[in-house]
């Protein structure tokens, strides 16, 4: 005869234990489950997206009623257990339903804590815990406008975000100085607040709720300082209380939660407990990752295998609000004995802080860029010494002391790096599942590994693993918004610019519902590029949406002076040009004359108002802008090649000059560098350029996607061709493909890694497509002002004169 297992609580921890048990001992028990809620088992975490309207209740069901039937589990749904008799081993529900047990599992979870201020029982005060709460919020949101959420922690912010999405005017009331103070430090808490404010959330900080007022329903909230705020609903999200009433009632030892040992057994050996209702080694948990770890151990003991103990968990936090990336783990505040390593970039909205002591990571807070959260978390949990990588730590795992080729974050991760914190799934598990089961989609990976099936915040990482495992077979479904000014991503915006023929930034703002009036420094510069590259003839090139270097056609220096770097075609110069450079250097008393890394000469310390004067002198001797300041073609580096070198096979210098003449002045997503070497000794370093040519006896090898900058990437070999004409055509086509498809500020190396080398190669191999691309490039070179020297336009042509002179000089 089977033994009887009764489970009280039909939630995430209880049912995960049953699932684990069915895996290892499917025939052992006759299982009966009581659940106070009238449903099967659902993913409570995803109530937040349900409240936002992004998911339906059906979509968040983990195990529907059929699952219970299929596994011969008796489910008493909608029945709350009110009595347990430990002598006769019997539980009784509210409605009189009884069940006997050999083993009992308590998985009663917790309840929202409702602050017992006067008025807390008024209709309109809700917690945020279950489907019923969400239903009631959604109903209120349909007819009412205003909501107050008490509590600026994880739950409160997710509730507030959802209610805003439902069209409500939401104020979050928080007792502390900054939001999520248990997971964030002050700086990141402040950034979070700013981002949420930009999405329309309002805040009352340091406010202590004193009373909820209303006649028969909520009307006002009153605070300790006497101020009041009118509202139609109050969501209490100040914390949770383990649900231990039943356990206490039958005399089980409880403190904050039901006390269990390392096998999840309570003080009554027949009774186990699991989930948020328990207290283990003094800790109560409120996240699913530890509960799922408990479930494994508990199932093992229920199955009477008796191996495995639960030793507690280290947890990390993420917030499920679209457009907000945050991560926090461990001791992220630090003290006098610890070091903080901090990186911040206000414009990109990025803040990263890692707290270190004795070369070990104690904790981390990441805001805006959380890609390395998993890595820091792993270093932290494993107590890895960071002595050797301290300098590179903040650049992230992808930049770890290598000059390796390509690769992305997940490619660098070891197989035992945890990807999904909720379900404890490591990278190796995911890769394994993809290759052995032939998986192609996120949903398949979820189904096979459970990775990203709970809170979903590791979705991006799982997608990256899919991408790096499957290569170009995988297409990533979602991309991040361009910036906080819009919900749209780069590719969407560019497509809209093409489809709707938008030619001005203000049209983009209007047609695509920009959230800010003027955009910001990040989106305006991107948009300006997308406009002028999509509609070279028609688009308005807005100087105010270009970074100063491109607006002034010179590179701003740290002291506010500028640099001037004239073009030296293919790295060639003449005595006349050198004399002109020497003359301006003397005439304008320029401090520094430097031979650049790009085979030309830079003049430094130029005052802005003297720029046009210097350009005029240089122009007079035939020197033009080198665009060293632009997201544009930079240099074409060459070696002397066949003309002089005893190994030279072709005229690499002449070829370099032709390449530069063809493409100078064109605006690009990022800077673009070329080179031509006369033989495979490759003195021009063509294999770390965006487009490189290595001459060989029989013709020309074409290389693409190299980069010698922050992360070195050697090129991929595109093709071998026979003539210079072909080199020029391939180069033009490649440049145009890059101009049309890469995202702004994406160089060819990361672009090629994102879209896949084979994609680029096949686009260029196709004769018709290559020719069309090349023609579009030549056309854009003709029609834009690009082939006219921007320096000449300003030195003598009167363009942008106001840029170079003060508005007024007032006597001191």
């Amino acid at each position: 005869m089977k033994e009887k297992l009764v489970v009280i609580g039909n939630g995430m921890a209880g049912m995960r234990t049953v699932e684990e048990l069915l895996k290892i001992a499917p025939e052992k028990y006759e299982i009966t489950v009581f659940g106070a809620e009238p449903y099967g088992n659902y993913n409570r975490i995803l109530l937040s997206p349900v409240l936002c309207g992004d998911k339906t209740i059906d979509e968040i069901m983990l195990n529907d009623l059929q699952w219970y039937a299929d596994n011969n589990i008796t489910l008493h749904k909608g029945v709350k257990v009110t009595a347990i008799d430990r002598k006769t081993c019997k539980v009784t529900g509210e409605d009189g339903t009884c069940a006997e047990y050999d083993r009992l599992l308590l998985a009663t979870g917790s309840d929202s804590f409702i602050i017992p201020v006067p008025g807390h029982e008024l209709p309109g005060v809700v917690g945020f815990r279950d489907i019923k709460n969400v239903d009631s919020m959604l109903t209120t949101a349909r007819t009412r406008k205003r909501a107050v959420v008490i509590g600026g922690g994880l739950l409160g912010l997710e509730a507030a975000n959802g209610l805003i999405k439902q069209g409500m005017d939401v104020t979050v009331v928080h007792l502390m100085d900054w939001l999520m103070e248990r997971q964030m430090d002050e700086v990141s808490g402040e950034m979070l607040k700013n981002s949420l404010e930009a999405q329309g959330m309002k805040f009352l900080m340091k406010a202590s709720t004193q009373e909820i007022l209303g006649d028969g329903k909520v009307e006002k909230v009153k605070f300790a300082d006497g101020s009041e705020i009118e509202t139609d609903m109050v969501v209490m999200a100040v914390g949770i209380r383990p649900n231990i009433e039943l356990a206490k009632q039958i005399g089980l030892h409880c403190e904050r939660g039901i006390v269990v040992n390392d096998t999840l057994q309570t003080f009554d050996p027949k009774i186990y407990a699991i989930g948020e209702c328990v207290q283990h080694r003094g800790q109560c948990y409120g996240l699913v990752a530890p509960l799922f770890e408990m479930a494994k151990v508990c199932a093992n003991h229920l199955a009477k295998y008796g191996i495995g103990i639960y030793q507690g968990s280290v947890t990390s936090t993420k917030l499920k609000v679209t457009g907000i990336d945050l991560f926090s783990a461990g001791d992220f505040m630090g003290d006098e004995t610890t070091d903080d390593i901090i990186v911040r970039d206000a414009t990109r909205g990025i803040y990263k802080k890692v707290v270190v002591k004795d070369d070990k990571i104690l904790g981390a807070v990441l805001y805006g860029d959380t890609i390395d959260g998993a890595w820091y978390f792993q270093l932290m949990r494993e107590g890895t010494s960071i002595a050797d990588i301290r300098d590179q730590l903040m650049f992230g795992q992808a930049h770890l002391g290598n000059s390796g080729h390509g690769g992305n974050v997940v490619a660098e991760m070891s197989d035992d790096t945890e990807i999904c914190g909720c379900n404890g799934v490591c990278k190796g598990d995911v890769v394994n599942a993809i290759t052995t089961h032939g998986l192609f989609t996120l949903d398949e990976v979820r189904a096979h590994t459970k990775a990203s099936s709970s809170c979903g915040s590791c979705t991006g990482l799982v997608e990256q693993i899919l991408e790096s495992t499957l290569g170009s077979d995988y297409e990533s479904p979602v991309a991040k918004p361009m910036c906080a000014c819009t919900e749209h991503n780069h590719d969407y915006v560019r497509q809209a610019i093409k489809d709707q023929k938008l030619t001005r930034i203000t049209d983009v703002f209007e047609k695509l519902n920009w959230k800010t009036e003027d955009g910001c420094a990040a989106c305006r510069t991107s948009l300006n590029y997308y406009l002028i590259s999509s509609w070279p003839k028609e688009a308005y090139d807005d100087p105010q949406s270009r970074f100063i270097n491109e607006r002034a056609h010179a590179n701003i220096q740290k002291d506010g002076t500028y640099s001037v770097i004239p073009r030296m075609w293919g790295g060639m110069t003449t005595p006349k040009e050198l004399r002109a450079i020497a003359d301006v250097a003397e005439k304008f008393e320029l401090d520094t004359v430097h031979v650049t890394g790009g085979q030309r000469i830079g003049l430094y310390g130029v005052k802005k108002h003297e720029l046009p004067l210097i350009w005029k002198d240089l122009n007079a001797q035939g020197l033009v802008s080198g665009h060293a300041y632009g997201k544009a073609l930079r240099t074409v580096k060459t070696c002397v090649g066949k003309a002089w070198c005893r190994f030279g096979t072709q005229d690499s210098t002449g070829l370099g000059i032709r390449l530069e003449q063809m493409s100078w002045g064109s605006w690009m997503p990022h800077k673009f560098k070329m080179a031509a070497s006369g033989c495979p000794r490759n003195c021009a370093e063509a294999t770390i350029k965006d487009f490189g040519v290595v001459c060989v006896d029989s013709g020309y090898e074409l290389h693409i996607g190299g980069n010698g900058g922050i992360k070195v990437r050697a090129t991929d070999l595109l093709k071998r061709v026979d003539t210079e004409e072909e080199v020029l055509e391939y180069s033009a086509a490649f440049i145009q493909l890059y101009r049309e498809q890469a995202r702004y500020l994406e160089r060819t190396a990361p672009w090629i890694e994102r879209v896949g080398f084979s994609y680029v190669q096949s686009s260029l191999e196709d004769d018709a497509q290559r020719k069309e691309l090349a023609v579009r490039f030549y056309e854009s070179q003709e029609v834009t002002q690009s082939q006219h020297d921007p320096w000449a336009q300003r030195a003598t042509g009167g363009v942008d004169a106001h840029e170079f002179v003060p508005l007024k000089v007032v006597a001191g």
Binding site: M191, A346, T347, Y351, D518, C520, Q544, I556, V809
Partner: protein
């Protein structure tokens, strides 16, 4: 003592752009936004003295060209997590002429 000085016409400042007014040794950056509001702050970022006049202007703020701090043009204060302030001046536009109150 207030000391209002005319510094030029509104038209000479491009919308979402800036011009510099030289006041003795001090450079003052004068900004104009899309609503034709005019702001003036010292042309030195509180971070490392970047010339704010060379930055990108949006709404009532400017992004510094050197390291991307954002400065509130109404107060001269750094926004977001950054801290610091550059002096600001009262401005007024009358009949298309821009006036600053110099100290």
């Amino acid at each position: 003592m207030s000391n209002w000085v005319e510094v030029g016409s509104l038209e000479e400042i491009p919308p979402l752009g800036a011009r510099v007014v030289k006041n003795g040794d001090t450079d003052i950056a004068v900004f104009r936004n899309t609503k034709n509001e005019v702001f003036a702050v010292n042309d030195a970022c509180p971070h490392r003295q970047g010339q704010l006049s060379q930055g990108i202007v949006h709404d009532k703020s400017v992004t510094c060209p050197l390291h991307n701090w954002k400065i509130d043009l109404t107060t001269g204060e750094a926004m977001g997590p950054d801290e610091g302030c550059t002096g600001h001046y009262k401005t007024r536009v009358e009949d298309g002429k821009v006036f600053l109150e110099l100290k």
